[in-house]
Symmetry: C2
Subunit: 179 residues, 2 copies
């Protein structure tokens, strides 16, 4: 495996927008291109770094800061990191960008609340609408739309494969690798 | 910087035994040998990964598991990691070893409670003896001495420089790098 510059693909978007699905296509495709890739999925992180944290503003911020801390450690050592947490707050994404500088690639995974609720991959929206889950992003908690994302993928009008290809092409171009 | 196998130098020992001091000599020396090195010092980790955790058995275990999680991510990607947390429990060190396998280098930084209390680098032992700090390793909380450490450095009878040289020599031998 050859040396290459590290980077962090920072997916952000609502629950059910497709962050994990897309990252599961992007990760192996980038590995095939000889890149070292680590995925810090929301669930992986909540298990290994943030157990005990809830979904208050403060706990969400702490969770995102930890992901950024680990993504920075990895990416500054030549690893390509993919994060797939909701990361609803612009300020925290800005913080992560400030830490990682040019290594930071913000990808807004765009889908409306209505569309995500229709998919309801984990059955969470139904509970959120009934008030059984509090502080649910997009329903009872804010999601601040990215204003300066390097890339937007529109999962209401693209297949996961199409969205993933856009991300892969962006990285190929940035890092100078190809299939 | 050339590609090399990752590893984790897992310092363990009492507060004041010299873990951080030695790691501060080892880290730049290994970087000079062309290795990528990241230091996960106890304080760095408590700030960035484990804020809010206390010093109960459960919280200590969580802290150590997080360090091991991050050390594994880095070391499996060719980074040399140095951890310098007390890590008093054998079971948790065993867990970290099981995760990292051959990449794991346990270094027992040996110094008696009496010696560490005499140094009392951070003024903590005095407080612990007075009962002002509860659950203080070696005073009111257990420290389980490593039985299978790859390396023991005896900081009661060696200078930090001497201890550091032993660690550096071990890594040089293992990884096949030299000054």
């Amino acid at each position: 495996m050859s040396e290459h510059p590290g980077f962090t693909i920072w997916f952000t978007g609502l629950s059910g927008a497709g962050k994990t699905t897309i990252s599961e296509i992007v990760a192996p495709a980038l590995r095939e291109r000889g890149l070292k890739i680590e995925v810090l999925d929301g669930d992986v992180v909540r298990t290994n770094l943030s157990k005990g944290l809830g979904f208050s503003k403060e706990d969400r911020d702490t969770n995102i800061r930890r992901i950024a801390f680990v993504a920075d450690l990895l990416s500054r050592n030549g690893v390509g990191v993919i994060t797939a947490a909701i990361s609803p707050y612009a300020e925290l994404r800005r913080e992560a960008r400030a830490t990682m500088g040019e290594r930071f690639i913000e990808v807004y995974v765009q889908a409306s609340v209505e569309e995500c609720a229709k998919r309801d991959t984990k059955g969470l929206y139904e509970k959120a609408f009934k008030g059984e889950i509090k502080e649910f992003t997009g329903v009872s908690d804010p999601y601040e739309v990215p204003e300066h994302a390097e890339l937007i993928v529109d999962t209401e009008h693209e297949t996961p494969e199409e969205s993933a290809q856009k991300v892969i092409a962006f990285v190929e171009d940035k890092i100078g690798v190809a299939a």
